[in-house]
């Protein structure tokens, strides 16, 4: 990366809360060996300042416990429990109306669970507002793209980054030092993220002028901007052709390699099977399977309930 950037990271790590200070200040040095060999230089270096990159796969990151959601008489989710382990890519699949997006919405605070709970590192999302849940470490993209159309791509990502900023009206009015620091670092971090998802060259374009594929990528960059512990992708490949799906799979893998945990809702079986470490299958609001992709592929209940067709047609 550029010189200015290398200097930027410690500078913006320093002002964070004193609790994480010691850990994050070391981050630029400590972070680099963790990057998977063969990957590019640490592209999202700016974004790492608050995140623990030391990922131990296997440790529980998210627990969905007996989650039930009812809308009037309709039970959208019925006593669903599963875990998401740190550093894995978990697929969440199921036929239309199975409750996948409802599950997402419950995790990110859009819906309040009727009963049950969602815990992120032991902290419940219950009673928290959506933006607080985002700060807790959940970030998501939307099934139908929901960017801030009039903003540039760069500004969209910075809105995500702002989730970790603490400047408010007085600081911005008077351009207090923290505001200046946050603004300066956020340009670098946002550009690093845009670069990471591969649309840095479009940073200054209005997001509604971007192509469909770039918009999808921008949504991912914006979600990554909130510095999530869990990134929830809601059908990120919808409307993609096979080549673009291939690219997207590579992107999702490299997101994981950067140390994020990913929850993926997707209809495209090839993509799900190709990229996930584990798959949870929902049907009519109930969990019917939770296993490795290969096992899911051969699970008769899944085939019956979800695929409903011979396996080789789907894969």
């Amino acid at each position: 990366m550029t010189d200015s950037n290398e200097n930027q990271v410690p500078a913006d790590a320093a002002p964070e809360e004193s609790a994480t200070d010691a850990a994050s200040a070391e981050m630029p040095e400590g972070a680099q060996p963790d990057i998977v060999p063969g990957e590019d230089p640490p592209l999202v270096e700016g974004a790492e300042s608050e995140r623990e990159i030391e990922v131990e796969v296997g440790e529980k990151l998210v627990e969905v416990k007996n989650l039930t959601i009812r809308f009037g008489g309709l039970t959208a989710l019925d006593d669903v429990s599963f875990d998401i382990k740190r550093g894995e890519i978990l697929g969440l699949i199921g036929p239309n109306g199975a409750g996948k997006t409802t599950c997402f919405n419950a995790m990110t605070g859009v819906y309040k669970p009727t009963s049950g709970d969602v815990l992120l590192e032991g902290q419940s999302v219950k009673g928290r507002k959506q933006h607080q849940i985002t700060r807790l470490g959940f970030a998501r993209t939307f099934q139908n793209i929901r960017l801030f159309g009039e903003m540039t791509a760069l500004e969209n990502v910075v809105v995500g980054l702002d989730a970790r900023h603490r400047t408010s009206v007085p600081g911005a009015l008077l351009r207090l030092p923290r505001h200046v620091r946050e603004e300066k670092s956020s340009v670098d971090r946002a550009m690093a993220l845009l670069d990471f998802v591969g649309i840095a060259q479009h940073a200054q374009k209005r997001s509604r002028d971007l192509s469909y594929g770039s918009q999808r990528r921008l949504e991912i960059a914006r979600a990554l901007g909130t510095d999530p512990k869990l990134l929830c992708l809601d059908e990120p490949a919808a409307g993609f052709n096979p080549a673009e799906k291939e690219d997207l799979m590579a992107l999702i893998r490299s997101i994981r390699d950067e140390g994020y945990t990913v929850l993926l809702i997707e209809h495209d079986m090839k993509l799900v099977m190709g990229v996930t470490d584990r798959i949870v299958v929902l049907e009519f609001g109930k969990k019917i399977a939770d296993d490795l992709p290969a096992a899911i592929r051969n699970d008769p209940r899944v085939i019956a309930a979800y695929l409903g067709v011979p396996e080789d047609d789907v894969a």
């Binding site: 550029t2 859009v110 960017l147 801030f148 009206v169 591969g198 080549a243």
Partner: protein, 400 residues
């Protein structure tokens, strides 16, 4: 969404997929006759922009002396007082623009804050009021604070509503303030408050500098305040706050999901808008020297809103222009002043058909240091002399 039409094309390879991303998103030029100007403006460095602003500001200050035929409102209306009222309307529009243009909260009762500002100035300075007296200039911040409190009081219960519902509630609020001014004895209804204070200072002959009949000092005071407000609003715009406002306007749910405390920022938008409204009200009260319960009706709210929409919702320069025009037309063309609502109505309809974004379409800069980003996107064409900075990032762009 706009994306429905430009879905993906079937492409054989990843290479060509990337190619389309490049070609597809060649920036669609923004519409409007000021486009060239705007682009040139945006390319200028900050000091250059300041340098260009200076003559504009100088002309603004010199306007009271440009009292000649096609421009001036004389003899029908005193030119300097007309200028003052244009400046106040511009200030109002800038404040309302924060609420309507940035945060996208339709406020149909904005005149209420204007009224609160006027009454604050009146009740703290007029001899007709039994309360504590403070020097006039102190009423300006006082009016801002009081109006801000009103903004928060209105905002906290109502900002959970969205769109049309919020508009209706604010409409009601505007009426409530007007009616309160009528029925509360202390507000003195139609009798009103006279001899409202003025800034200190007298000329050699003993006439106060800020007299009610001489608009020039008032105008200068107002545009000075306007410039300060513009700078502060500009600071807000290019910050987390501005981005939060626009994000809320664009998609409130997505904003909340992206970690924007939407409710907090909506209340802030209301409070900021209200305080500017209160400030302009206090200025207006000082110049006229008299406040009663007239003129705080819904039409005035709509007129303020028309100013914002006319100028270009979300653009503070547009708001100034819109506010000034809305005040200027009826004063300049006194013969048609009675029909001003008709004229503005027709003008707005025509504008919405041919230029739905307003006279100066909004494109705000929401980043204080977005120029830094340009260094990232290494432009391939012009060979730059300073090599190490710009070359690397773009080559990594395609890596993922």
């Amino acid at each position: 969404m706009s994306t429905s039409s430009d879905g993906p094309r079937p492409l054989p390879t990843a290479e060509s997929a990337r190619e389309t991303i490049e070609t597809e998103s060649i920036a669609t030029p923004r519409r409007g006759p000021f486009r060239g100007l705007r682009e040139r403006w945006n390319e200028m460095s900050r000091p250059m922009q300041w340098a260009w602003m200076l003559p504009v500001v100088a002309i603004a200050y010199a306007l009271p002396f440009l009292d000649f035929f096609p421009l001036s409102t004389s003899p029908g209306n005193n030119w300097s007082i007309a200028l003052f009222s244009m400046a106040v309307y511009a200030l109002v529009a800038v404040g309302l623009n924060v609420v309507v243009g940035y945060a996208g909260l339709l406020d149909l009762g904005y005149v209420a804050f204007f009224a609160v500002g006027q009454y604050t100035a009146a009740m703290f300075t007029s001899p007709d009021s039994p309360y504590l007296k403070i020097p006039y200039l102190w009423t300006l911040p006082a009016a801002m604070v009081v109006a801000m409190i009103f903004g928060v009081v209105l905002g906290v219960p109502t900002l959970r509503l969205r769109g049309d519902y919020l508009a209706i509630v604010t409409l009601g609020f505007g009426e409530i303030v007007r009616i309160l001014a009528t029925i509360i004895p202390a507000m003195k209804g139609q009798v009103g408050f006279q001899n409202i204070g003025r800034p200190p200072g007298e000329t050699a002959s003993g006439v106060p500098i800020f007299s009610n009949s001489n608009g020039v000092p008032w105008y200068w005071l107002t545009i000075t305040i306007l410039i300060i407000v513009l700078l502060l609003v500009g600071n807000l715009e290019r910050s987390r706050v501005g981005r939060a406002f626009i994000a809320i306007r664009e998609d409130e749910d997505a904003a909340e999901t992206m970690g924007v405390p939407t409710f907090k920022y909506k209340v802030w938008a209301f409070a900021i808008g209200a305080s500017v409204g209160g400030l302009s009200g206090a200025l207006m009260a000082g110049q006229i020297g008299f406040v009663n319960n007239q003129k705080f009706d819904v039409q005035t709210s709509i007129l303020f809103l028309a100013a914002v929409v006319l100028g270009g919702t979300g653009n503070k320069v547009g708001a100034i222009l819109g506010g000034a025009i809305v005040a200027y037309i009826p004063l300049r063309f006194t013969a048609i002043a009675e029909y001003k609502y008709l004229i503005f109505g027709v003008a707005l309809v025509i504008l919405m058909i041919y230029r739905s974004q307003g006279l100066i379409p909004a494109k705000m800069r929401l980043m204080a240091y977005s120029r830094k980003a340009i260094e990232w996107i290494a432009p391939p064409k012009p060979p730059r002399v300073e090599p190490p900075r710009t070359s690397t990032p773009s080559t990594e762009g395609g890596a993922s």
